[in-house]
C-alpha cells in the first residue's frame, strides 16, 4: 500500500469518507477511473482506513466495574466541598493561578463519607494557615486535583523546592490510611502503616525513603523527567521505566517488579537488574568488611513468561492469615486482575480464582470477589456472577460495595425474567443502605418492573420514594408512563404524578406531556 496517489487527498479531506465519495473525487479530478477499474492505490488505502475505523469502533472498555461509580462520586463531592471551604479563605488572594507549578502531593487523609470530607477540609485549612504562599497555592489544588483511590492529595511542596539542592523538607510521614502520593517522577501508593520520607539526591533522583511498610510505584525513567528510586536500609531500587513494589520489614526488604526494569543496589552486594515478574529479597544490613564475601542476592524469576500477569505462588490452603510477602503478591495480582477485567474477563477470573484459593485479608477478599463477579458478568456467566455479588453484599467488609452489588444482582434477576426477586432485592437494599447513592436508580428499576407487570399503583409507590430534588429525566418519564397507565383506574393518583412533573425541573417536553395527562385525569375525575 502506498499513499503516494495524489487523488487520495480528496478522500482524506471528506467529512465522512466512503467509496461513493471516493468515486466522486476521482471522477471530479479526472483520475484514470472507469466504472469497473479503481485506482489500486486509493482502493487499498480506503480499505485500510475503513478497517482501522471498524476495529477502533468495536473497542468498548465496558461499564465501570463495581464500586467505581460510588468512589468517584464520593471523591468529587468531597473535593467540591473542600474547594468551597478552602476557596473562601484563599481565592481572594489570587493564588489559584500558580497551580501548574505544583509537583509534590502527599496523601494524608481518606475520604470515606461526608464527615471525613469535612475533616479533610479542616486539615487543609489548618495546613494552609501554617504554610508559605507557594504552598498555599498548592493547597488550593487539594480541591483542584484530588487523586482517586483511597486518599486525597495535600501539597507540601512545589517544583521550585524540588530543584536540586534547594532543600526539600525531609519530613517523615506516617501513612495512617492507604494513600496515594503524586510525586514528580512517580505515582506511588502506600499501604496503611507505612512510614516514609521523600527527598532529592545529588544525582537528580527523587528518592522515597521507606522506613517500613509497602509502597507500589509506577514511574518512568525518561531523560526529561525526574528519576525515581525507593531506598530502605537494606538497599535501593532505581526505576528504569516500570511498575514495582517495595516491602520493607525489620529484617528484610522485598522488591518485586510488575513490569519494566528496576536496578537494585543492595546495601552490601553488587547491583542487579530485575525484569518484569522478578523479585528479590534483600538481606539484613551486614558489616561492610564482609562485603566481598556476600553473594549476590537470589533473584526469584517467574515461572511463566507468556501470561500478562505472573500468577503468584500457590500455597496449600490454610487458615493462617497471609504473611506480608503474600499480601504484597496478592495486592499486585488483584491490581492486575482489576486491570484485565475489562479487556480479558477470563484472565481476570483466573487470577482472582487462584488468589481466592488462599486465605486473604477480609478487605482483599471482598475486593477479589467483586472483581470476580464483574469478570463473570462480562464473560456471560450471570448465575455465577449473581452468587458472587450476593457474597460481596454479605461480606463483613462489603459495606462499601453492597449497594452496587445488590443492584447488579437485581439486574441479573430482571434479565432472567424474575422481576419479583429483583424487587425483593431492591427492598433489601433500601433496608440496608437507605437512599444511598443509587436510590433514584433503584426506584426507577422497581417502577419499570411494576409497569411491565401492569402494576401501576406499585410503580407509583416506588416513584414516590424519590426525593423531588433528585428527580431525573428517567424518573419523570416513568412518572408520566405510570400516570398514563393509571388514568383509567385512579385518575387522582395520575393527576398527582403529572403535577409532580409539572412542578419539578423537567424539560418542557415532559411538562407538556404531563399537562396533557393532567387534563385527561381531570376529565376522568382526578383533582389537582
Amino acid at each position: 500500500m502506498s499513499t503516494s496517489c495524489k487523488h487520495i487527498d480528496g478522500f482524506l479531506r471528506s467529512a465522512r469518507p466512503n467509496r461513493a465519495v471516493e468515486s466522486d473525487v476521482l471522477l471530479t479530478r479526472g483520475h484514470s477511473f472507469e466504472s469497473t477499474v479503481r485506482c489500486p492505490v486509493c482502493e487499498r488505502a480506503i480499505s485500510a482506513l475503513e478497517n482501522a475505523r471498524d476495529v477502533l469502533s468495536e473497542h468498548d472498555p465496558g461499564p465501570p466495574p463495581l464500586g467505581v461509580r460510588q468512589r468517584v462520586l464520593r471523591n468529587v463531592s468531597g473535593a467540591a466541598a473542600s474547594r468551597q471551604r478552602i476557596g473562601a479563605r484563599w481565592v481572594a488572594g489570587g493564588l489559584a493561578g500558580a497551580a501548574a507549578a505544583v509537583a509534590l502531593f502527599l496523601v494524608v487523609s481518606q475520604i470515606r463519607d461526608e464527615t471525613t470530607a469535612s475533616d479533610t477540609g479542616v486539615d487543609a485549612a489548618r495546613l494552609a494557615s501554617e504554610t508559605t504562599s507557594a504552598e498555599q497555592d498548592a493547597l488550593l489544588l487539594l480541591a483542584e486535583r484530588p487523586r482517586l483511590g483511597e486518599g486525597i492529595a495535600i501539597v507540601v511542596s512545589d517544583t521550585r523546592r524540588l530543584e536540586k539542592g534547594a532543600g526539600l523538607p525531609e519530613e517523615t510521614i506516617d501513612v495512617t490510611e492507604a494513600s496515594r502520593l503524586d510525586l514528580r517522577a512517580a505515582d506511588v501508593e502506600a499501604d496503611k502503616g507505612t512510614r516514609l520520607r521523600v527527598s532529592l539526591d545529588d544525582e537528580g533522583f527523587e528518592v522515597l525513603e521507606l522506613d517500613h511498610g509497602l509502597v507500589r510505584a509506577v514511574a518512568s525513567s525518561d531523560a526529561t523527567d525526574a528519576l525515581f528510586a525507593v531506598r530502605t536500609k537494606h538497599g535501593r531500587a532505581e526505576v528504569m521505566g516500570t511498575r514495582f513494589e517495595v516491602l520493607a520489614e525489620p529484617e528484610t526488604t522485598k522488591v518485586r517488579v510488575v513490569s519494566g526494569k528496576v536496578r537494585v543496589h543492595p546495601a552490601f552486594a553488587p547491583a542487579l537488574t530485575l525484569g518484569a515478574g522478578e523479585s528479590v529479597v534483600l538481606p539484613l544490613e551486614q558489616d561492610p568488611q564482609e562485603e566481598a564475601a556476600v553473594d549476590p542476592p537470589e533473584i526469584h524469576r517467574p515461572a511463566h513468561t507468556t501470561e500478562t500477569v505472573k500468577p503468584h505462588t500457590v500455597h496449600p490452603k490454610s487458615s493462617e492469615p497471609p504473611s506480608p510477602d503474600e499480601r504484597l503478591t496478592e495486592a499486585a495480582a488483584l491490581e492486575e486482575a482489576r486491570a484485565a477485567v475489562d479487556t480479558d474477563p477470563d484472565l481476570a477470573a483466573r487470577i482472582v480464582t487462584s488468589i481466592l484459593d488462599e486465605p486473604l485479608a477480609p478487605r482483599d477478599e471482598v475486593t477479589a470477589l467483586a472483581i470476580l463477579a464483574d469478570a463473570k458478568r462480562r464473560s456471560g456467566a450471570p448465575l455465577e456472577a449473581a452468587s458472587l455479588y450476593q457474597r460481596v453484599a454479605d461480606h463483613t467488609e462489603g459495606a462499601g460495595f453492597a449497594e452496587e452489588a445488590l443492584m447488579q444482582l437485581a439486574l441479573i434477576h430482571i434479565d432472567a425474567g424474575k422481576g419479583s426477586k429483583a424487587l425483593s432485592i431492591i427492598e433489601e437494599t433500601h433496608e440496608r443502605v437507605g437512599t444511598g447513592v443509587l436510590g433514584p436508580e433503584r426506584a426507577a428499576m422497581a417502577a419499570r418492573v411494576h409497569l411491565e407487570a401492569a402494576r401501576p399503583i406499585e410503580a407509583a409507590d416506588a416513584l414516590d420514594t424519590v426525593d423531588p430534588e433528585q428527580s431525573t429525566y428517567e424518573i419523570d418519564h416513568l412518572r408520566l408512563a405510570t400516570a398514563d397507565a393509571l388514568l383509567g383506574t385512579d385518575p387522582s393518583r395520575a393527576a398527582s404524578l403529572a403535577v409532580m412533573v409539572i412542578d419539578g425541573s423537567a424539560p418542557d417536553e415532559l411538562k407538556d406531556a404531563a399537562r396533557a395527562i393532567l387534563r385527561k385525569a381531570r376529565l376522568s375525575g382526578g383533582q389537582r
Partner: protein, 202 residues
C-alpha cells in the same frame, strides 16, 4: 450479565408500557447539577475516556480521568449556558482532559510501551482465538494511532469513532471548525502512513 444491563439512566429504555412520546431534551431548558450529570452520563463518560485512552489503558487511569472530567464539569457548571447538549459538553471536557494527560512525551512513551509490552498468548483454544485476534488487531491499529500527536488523534477519534460532527468536535475542543478538518485530514494521512509502514514491516 453484560454492559447494557447496567444501571444507566441516560441509556435506559422507556418502560414497555410507557405510551408517552418524549422528544430529545432541550439543552436550553435543562437545570444541570453535578448529581444529574453523574446520574445521566457517568457510564458514558467512563466508556468515552476508556476509548480515548485506548485498549491498554489501565483501569485506574480511566477511573482517575473520569473523576477529573466530573470535577471539571462541576467547576464549569455555572458557565454552562446550554449551547450544547450536556453529553456533547461532557465529551469536550473528557477529550480535553485526556489530551492534557497524554500530551507529554513521557506519557506518550508510556502509552507506546503499554502497546508493545506483555505479548498476548500465541494460541488459545476455542473461540478465544478469535477474540485474541481481534485484540491483536485493535492493538495494532492503536499502536499506529498512538504515534500521531494527541491533538490529531483526538479529532480523529471524536469524529470517526464517536461520530461527533465537525461543529461538535470544534466546540468540544474549543478550536475553529476549519482546524478540525485540517487535523482530521492529517490524522488520516498519518494513520495511513503508519498502517502502510506496519504492513511493509510485517
Amino acid at each position: 450479565m453484560t454492559g447494557p444491563t447496567r444501571v444507566n439512566m441516560a441509556g435506559a429504555q422507556p418502560a414497555a408500557a410507557a405510551p408517552v412520546r418524549v422528544e430529545a431534551k432541550d439543552p436550553q431548558e435543562q437545570d444541570l447539577t453535578l448529581e444529574s450529570l453523574f446520574r445521566d452520563h457517568f457510564d458514558d463518560v467512563y466508556r468515552l475516556v476508556g476509548r480515548l485512552l485506548g485498549p491498554r489503558a489501565e483501569q485506574a487511569d480511566i477511573e482517575d480521568l473520569t473523576q477529573q472530567v466530573f470535577l471539571t464539569a462541576h467547576k464549569a457548571l455555572k458557565r454552562y449556558r446550554g449551547d450544547a447538549k450536556p453529553s456533547t459538553w461532557l465529551c469536550g471536557i473528557a477529550a480535553r482532559t485526556v489530551m492534557t494527560q497524554t500530551r507529554g512525551w513521557r506519557r506518550r512513551r508510556r502509552l507506546l510501551e503499554a502497546l508493545t509490552r506483555e505479548p498476548l498468548p500465541r494460541s488459545i483454544p476455542g473461540d478465544l482465538d478469535e477474540r485474541v485476534a481481534q485484540r491483536r488487531e485493535l492493538q495494532r491499529v492503536w499502536a499506529c494511532l498512538a504515534r500521531m500527536s494527541v491533538k490529531k488523534r483526538m479529532v480523529y477519534l471524536l469524529h470517526e469513532i464517536e461520530g461527533m460532527s465537525g461543529a461538535d468536535v470544534a466546540e468540544g475542543l474549543r478550536i475553529p471548525e476549519a482546524t478540525v478538518w485540517t487535523r482530521l485530514y492529517h490524522a488520516r494521512r498519518e494513520l495511513l502512513r503508519e498502517l502502510d509502514r506496519q504492513e511493509s514491516e510485517s
